[in-house]
Amino acid sequence: MMAFLNFYLIPGVVLGCIYALGAIGISLTFGILRFSNFAHGDTMTLGVYITLSLVQFSGLHPLLVAPLAMVLTTGIVLGLDRTFYKPFRTSPAIMLVIASFGLMLMIRSVIQFFWGVQLQALQTGIQMPLEALLPVRFSENHLLIIGATVLLMMAVHLVLTRTKIGKAMRATSDNPELAALTGIDTEVVIRATWAMGASLAVAAGVFLGLDTHVETMMGFKLLLPMFAAAILGGIGKPYGAVAGGLVIGIAEELSAYPWIGTTPLLSPGYKGGVAFAIMVAMLIWKPQGLFRGRQF
């Protein structure tokens, strides 16, 4: 039982937190700008590399410099929005999807060009579980990741429910045409969406970097599970994305649990398929997602 908690459930939750933070941005972009942003994963990578440079420059803990990285990444993303997405505001979604695809290639090659492809680390060494909590095995980083995720979620919740712009974001995600008729300034909402999505993606990336390492494909590798989480939670539903991320993170880890006998239920070679299988099943049987997101 302890093994289940320590080696399957807790890692699943940590992974789920990372997916969840990343998926919020995808879900919001999907809801408000109405396209699947393929560049989201590489935005995450960019934020992590900016954090890495700040860490190397300042010598501070990655979580301390991450807010600055969020701001810088947001700035870059806003610039990219202006140049590459704005011309397509009224075009069919496919144009934006393809533009984001092009941007994905561009961001990644810029990262590879300037930072190189070698593996890097935000933090070296390994972290043993905290003595005080044994037999539950939580390492310091995992507590930090889960704690910071909870804080960020609360911040997101407050922004979305307590601020005018947050409510406008939810309104626009609900019904963009009506939002325009109501006088909501869509461009402001779009900027806020990019800012929130990019910042959370940077946070997710930094957490992933703390838990593993930093490399140029890290965000891209997370892209499809994040999509899956966004779909699972319901498009345009930030809370849904959080739930979706957790479900997918935990499901991936639990798929390798020896539920029957002593061998993993599913060969770990298929681990990456778990997210997709959940996603496809969801789309077919409950396309509005867990949280009744917008249906197309």
Partner: protein
């Protein structure tokens, strides 16, 4: 002289790869261009075709299924057929999903297909893939074998083109356009929208399988990396959009042109100074992204925009009021 012969051979290789991609873009054009089905799982159907071709034609090898040694054309038909069957299965469960949802579902399915090919090593040799795949005309002396293969690929592209052009202007194609433009009106005109969409998806999938079968021959080696979504799905979309979606000529042109850009940019970037030796590869990917953005912004309808067939007479009357959504309540 030698070097011009080399350029000629390179040109043939561009035509071959461009031609194989044209088969894929034409397949996608049936789904996306004509019917508006956002299939983002091209890689999956492509992989099915490629693996069927490989398994059916390779000589016996201990590490994967094989030893059937089918004749190449027969294997190609089988590749198309099996891709069509998989396409039917996927369409059966996903076809009613709209735009982006269909895209994401099909991406997921394509990734699952890739994982199956990667993990079921007894059949596919897992990540190491299948080697020594027979290629049509390879016994001819050089350069005739290359020429014959190019000719075969281009002939296949031509046949598909002619068939699709016929279909496009035939009632079937006009119904497809009507469905894409206004599903409600098409349904109101008594068309079984779901069945038409299903047909279109299956035909497109079969063509993607054929593309895979050709690719397997041309490369003589396939492994799960061949169906990498970057080069087997997204690139195909880029080609179709650049060429002009819903225009069959555009699909072919887009495939040829974008493949040339994809491939030939390297000739440029490999000339960069030494200190950029490795980094030039990243510059190249950057350039490809930039060219794509350029085309999108300057030529959003593609190089060859859609030419509309005349609307289906039975649908024409219903279209005008339906376009005026909101003002009428049906």
């Amino acid at each position: 002289m030698e070097q011009y012969y080399g350029y000629f051979l390179y040109l043939l290789s561009l035509l071959t790869m461009g031609g194989i991609y044209a088969v894929l873009t034409l397949g996608l054009n049936v789904q996306w261009g004509f019917t508006g089905l956002f299939n983002a799982g091209i890689a999956g159907f492509f992989a099915v075709g490629a693996y069927v071709q490989a398994i059916l034609t390779t000589p016996i090898y201990a590490r994967h299924l094989g030893g059937y040694e089918w004749p190449i054309p027969l294997a190609m038909l089988a590749a198309m057929a099996l891709s069509a069957v998989v396409g039917y299965g996927v369409a059966k469960i996903c076809i009613r999903l709209r735009a982006d949802y269909l895209a994401i579902a099909t991406i997921g399915i394509a990734e699952i297909i890739r994982l199956v090919f990667k993990n079921e090593g007894w059949a596919t040799n897992g990540p190491r893939g299948i080697s020594q795949i027979p290629k049509a005309f390879e016994d001819l002396p050089q350069p005739w074998n290359t020429l014959a293969f190019v000719a075969m690929v281009l002939a296949i592209v031509m046949v598909i083109y002619l068939a699709l052009e016929r279909a496009r202007t035939a009632p079937w194609g006009r119904v497809m356009t009507a469905i894409r433009e206004n599903e409600a009106a098409a349904a109101a005109a008594g068309k079984n929208v779901e069945r038409f969409r299903l047909e279109s998806f299956v035909i497109g999938s079969a063509l993607m399988g054929l593309g895979g079968a050709l690719m397997a021959q041309y490369l003589k080696q396939i492994d799960p990396q061949v169906s990498d979504p970057l080069t087997a799905t997204f690139l195909v979309f880029v080609m179709l959009i650049a060429g002009g979606s819903a225009n069959n000529k555009g699909a072919i042109l887009g495939a040829m042109l974008m493949w040339t850009v994809w491939s030939a940019t390297e000739i440029l970037t490999s000339r960069l100074p030494d200190e950029f030796a490795i980094r030039s590869a990243y510059v190249r990917i950057f350039l490809i992204g930039l060219i794509l953005q350029f085309i999108l912004q300057r030529r959003p309808q593609g190089i060859l925009p859609e030419r509309r067939p005349k609307p289906h007479p039975r649908l024409r009357g219903d279209r005008a009021p339906a376009a005026n959504t909101g003002s009428t309540k049906q």
